[in-house]
Subunit: 197 residues, 4 copies
């Protein structure tokens, strides 16, 4: 398929997902500072999800720059990934409203988990296509991505258990640990991660 058109469509969807989260800020009904300070928890949840989607986009950019071909299979996996990510505004809105409650925190974690599955699926789909076309350097470079290696390692799974337990005892830890995890994911990238186009 036309890689740049698929990427442009993906970017439009990601940009809208990112930006409609802003609509969840309710205009305060009063004109004093309390009105805006009530938005604090949602601002925090929004910031975490903004970093989340930025990390996702950054890695998508890398994979698509290297991908030799976008097959019908990759198109559908890519759309599954977009679908799972489109639920992030929902979980963000809920957790921002009830940041100290278990169910919203678990729900945020579940959406994150489903997103990770589709993300790994997308990565391995691109690796597989590259391998089939004999582009071994591409498949090696994508396989070496720290986020991919982390998510499919035992640690990538264990962290869900840790977060799940933490939420049980102190719910806000859900989104806090997720933030820390995202900062690691943003930080650890391959050296060539911004040298592809």
């Amino acid at each position: 398929m036309d890689k740049s058109r698929v990427a442009a469509f993906t970017d439009a969807v990601v940009a809208i997902i990112l930006t409609i989260m802003v609509l969840e800020f309710k205009t305060p009904e009063t004109f004093n500072w309390e009105g805006i300070l009530e938005e604090g928890p949602y601002l925090f949840a929004y910031a975490v999800s903004f970093i989340y989607i930025s990390v996702a986009w950054y890695n998508h950019h890398y994979m698509f720059a290297l991908a030799p071909r976008i097959t019908k299979r990759i198109f559908w996996i890519n759309n599954s990934w977009l679908f799972s990510m489109s639920l992030v505004p929902v979980s963000t809105a809920w957790v921002g409203e009830f940041i100290s409650e278990r169910a919203p925190e678990y729900f945020y974690l579940i959406i994150f988990f489903i997103w990770s599955i589709t993300y790994m699926w997308l990565t391995s789909g691109i690796i597989k296509t590259a391998s089939e076309m004999g582009e071994n350097e591409v498949s090696n470079r994508i396989s070496a991505m720290p986020i991919y290696r982390f998510l499919r390692s035992i640690w990538g799974y264990l962290i869900y258990v840790v977060v799940a337990i933490a939420i049980y005892f102190y719910p806000p830890m859900g989104i806090i640990i997720t933030l820390i995890e995202l900062l690691f994911m943003a930080y650890y990238t391959t050296d060539d991660s911004d040298q592809v186009a």
Copy 2:
């Protein structure tokens, strides 16, 4: 016209149609699981419409990649198609709210029907332009698209009758049969469907 600009404009509209459906998820007013589980029927309707628009986009990508020229006539048919598709969030929201009721299910079916008409119109418009320009290979390839052949066949019309009867006896069958139909449309494509750019 500038094919890439028309495609980019179309993509932006399609991406927004796809993503504004997320806004229909209401943030639960409670922090227990019941709050989010109430969104279940809408999640199902949203997933079906997401697949629907993905199928539509995939086939649009194919036709536009092959189309030798975007005439004023095709521009307007393309916009009619976008207009009919822009009503999908409306029918999805209604059916997601009342998944077991006849009127919303029939309404979803009607929008699907109108969309099919504009889709067939777009396809035949591109075929006609290609033929007039002597690009017979292009018109043959587009004419051979399974979705186009299905929609204009007797089966393409009969299925509306089947769905209409099914809705009468058990309303949720409307969206369920539509899902099955979409999965077939997603599956059956020509071999070269992802080999154009």
Copy 3:
């Protein structure tokens, strides 16, 4: 400036203006047909505004394809034009809610009028730049656009008077005459209107 980036930014804004009008459809609170039929007047207003913005985009595509250069001046006029067009969803929502009332119909007309001013300003800005650069063929072709010639002719102004009087006696005539005017604008274009890229 980078013409394709300015055009892409414009397209994104236009696509969003077009599509957020869909958000004005309220999901019916009942599951019977009355629920959806109440949306009828808004559907009509939305369809008119959809054609309106499609006509606008079509002509913008033509002018930008020919424009030899996007200056800072044209950038700002283009943004004024986008600003005036961004008020169309507001006037459409109001007129769709009260299609038989004078104030919403006059308001729709006023927004249309302001939009026409910015549109003519954009056209003459591009013509002027082309002339200054010695691109007389470009300035002649853009000057010959029927929509531009109509809007700045005596008829282009007289029609506002006609519509204003018609609204006074029978408010829905406002949007009906606008629809007729738009269909003429969509129909009458120069022969080369879709032959630029």
Copy 4:
């Protein structure tokens, strides 16, 4: 990174930020002129923010056209800048609702201030990368941008103090002085500001 993809993603986010502000116009519940005239203060706030984001985009276009390379660092600064700008619809909605109150006006000023910080950070990030790559002409041209020189000068900081005092005595002065500042920023640009692509 692929500069055009990063720019296209940025443009999509900026276009959405710009356009979702339209959603804040509430459809009047009455059909008389009072209904729409109540939107006056918000229309003013929206217009100011529209100019604001247009100025931002114009300068972003210039910097990205010159930037020799988009590094991971610039990607993240660019996203911080987008994040700060995504709060503009929130502050605009609040100030448009309570244009004569201190807290909303101060909040608008605070968002403007945070945005300025991320904007200066983005500019200096691009300058630094250009310098490191030996592209001294690029770093000189970007360093010479009037908006950048103003924001980091003593005047750029003093104006916040002036606005803060003005708001204390007459709140609407907050957004009025901001408008004047923006008009200056729109006016004063380098001569080559629209001659890059």
